[in-house]
Symmetry: C2
Subunit: 284 residues, 2 copies
């Protein structure tokens, strides 16, 4: 029987009970507004745990002061139905006032990976992510946690945190789910106007093109970045924030694509007032 | 049968086994060079767990570049004998190279409490402490952790971290153990020359005097600080780094001592080239 849990203490007790019963807990952390991408992570989680917990928390700490925290879509009843339909047994939706009480002062930071790419565009973003994920790990005490490949840098940052702090949790990464025209599923797609929505698949097309150029033998990373930028910029409403060709683990920008390294080709692009990110992973 | 464990993986397995057996784990984190103060914490831990784990790790991350990391006393065989004699079943002494591998990049910071007092004198010190304690908590997975009141600010910082990150571990604080002349037990006392050792009890005498002045009705915090400073400065080799009269929980410096607040009177004082800290807690 699926349960909605809001108090932190109640979630901790539920986790303790599950662990005492020898159950494996798989956590899918989300900010709600669940779409097909989240649902595929929940279905993946079913293979990694006896009990799937989906957390729903629009985390104020990972939004910048001028970002979309206020207008970020929220639909707890709809999310509850979707998540439990996909296999979740517990929906954990804590209150911000309980997550960040007065005098809250602690943060978890991943130095080398958190300040580049998304972290450069969004100062403090990854500190907000790692801090809330650390809290969720302590509260839900999962054996495995599932994240989406769409947020590739988030995956790299969380893997680093889990390794550095000796947190014995398996990090499982689910494939990006896409609309039929290639646009990556994102809660932020709902902000797009009809015209912007029509242009937005250019981001995935450009990333695919860049990936194909690597497969065809292109080794000059800067040429790949320029190809990526030129391709996405062909849409009039697109404004590129960054284009990156980096080592997938260290996220260091590459000069040359060398055989044997896994390459993360990623970009952040504005369509009108909506900021979208996407990426492809290529074996160099 | 007491065990010495060095590999992190082995400690994690031992902790998993103990937890599966339903045993309560009590952790005493130390930097080794165990003295009577540590031994009293270990004896206290026996009351808070079925199995006492003492970690011994001279943590490079909590020493500043000009501090005493290199000359900090180390005696693993002696510590093993002392700790097990006091009731420890596992001595966990990890290697620095395994605790901080190449590419290590994560830190845990407690903003408001970490930058004042000791944190002001020793930039980065508490980030080093909270990061290593978080790692030890993940590795040893204790139900309770025992810290000494001598490091009062460390206790406040760790309590804040445990609360903020929802780490379900009981923090137990053990009384400061003193030499017959009042000097707080510290591994750093071994650095003192005979003459400095003779003068060092002035620190505890001054703190006691300040505490007595509060009990006698003194309410002006600045007058208490001045009394403390003048008293300890009566010894020729003493050089005061700070004198503090603060709220024991928030560590905010007080202007006036108001009834009902617990007051932490603390100081850091150099005797020659050795830096000592000590404190007393007074009900205002």
């Amino acid at each position: 029987m699926p349960r909605l849990i809001r108090p932190i203490r109640e979630m901790q007790r539920a986790a303790d009970t599950l662990r005492r019963e020898g159950k494996r807990i798989a956590l899918v952390p989300t900010m709600g507004a669940l779409h097909a991408g989240h649902l595929s992570l929940i279905r993946l989680a079913v293979f990694h745990g006896d009990v799937v917990v989906v957390s729903i928390f629009v985390n104020p700490a990972q939004f910048g002061p001028r970002e979309d925290f206020e207008r970020y879509p929220r639909d707890l009843p709809g999310d509850f139905a979707e998540a439990t339909g996909a296999g979740a047994e517990i929906i954990f939706a804590p209150e911000a006032a309980e997550m960040y009480p007065e005098n809250f002062a602690t943060s978890v930071t991943v130095e080398s990976l958190g300040g580049i790419l998304e972290g450069k565009s969004r100062p403090g973003h990854f500190r907000g992510v790692t801090t809330v994920v650390m809290k969720l790990f302590s509260i839900v005490r999962p054996h495995a946690a599932i994240f989406g490949q769409k947020d590739a840098q988030q995956v790299a940052v969380i893997r680093r945190m889990v390794s550095d702090l000796n947190i014995g949790i398996d990090i499982v990464v689910g494939q990006t789910v896409r609309e039929p025209d290639g646009l990556a599923m994102s809660s932020r797609n709902s902000y797009l106007s009809a015209e912007e929505r029509r242009q937005a698949p250019a981001l995935h097309r450009a990333l695919t093109l860049a990936g194909e150029s690597i497969r065809a033998g292109e080794r000059d990373a800067e040429r790949i970045r320029r190809l990526l930028e030129a391709s996405v910029s062909s849409e009039p409403s697109a404004r590129v924030e960054y284009c990156s060709v980096a080592d997938a683990e260290t996220l260091r920008e590459l000069t040359a694509v060398t055989p044997g390294t896994t390459v993360l080709v990623s970009a952040a692009v504005w369509f009108g007032s909506t900021r979208l990110i996407d990426n492809v992973l290529i074996e160099g």
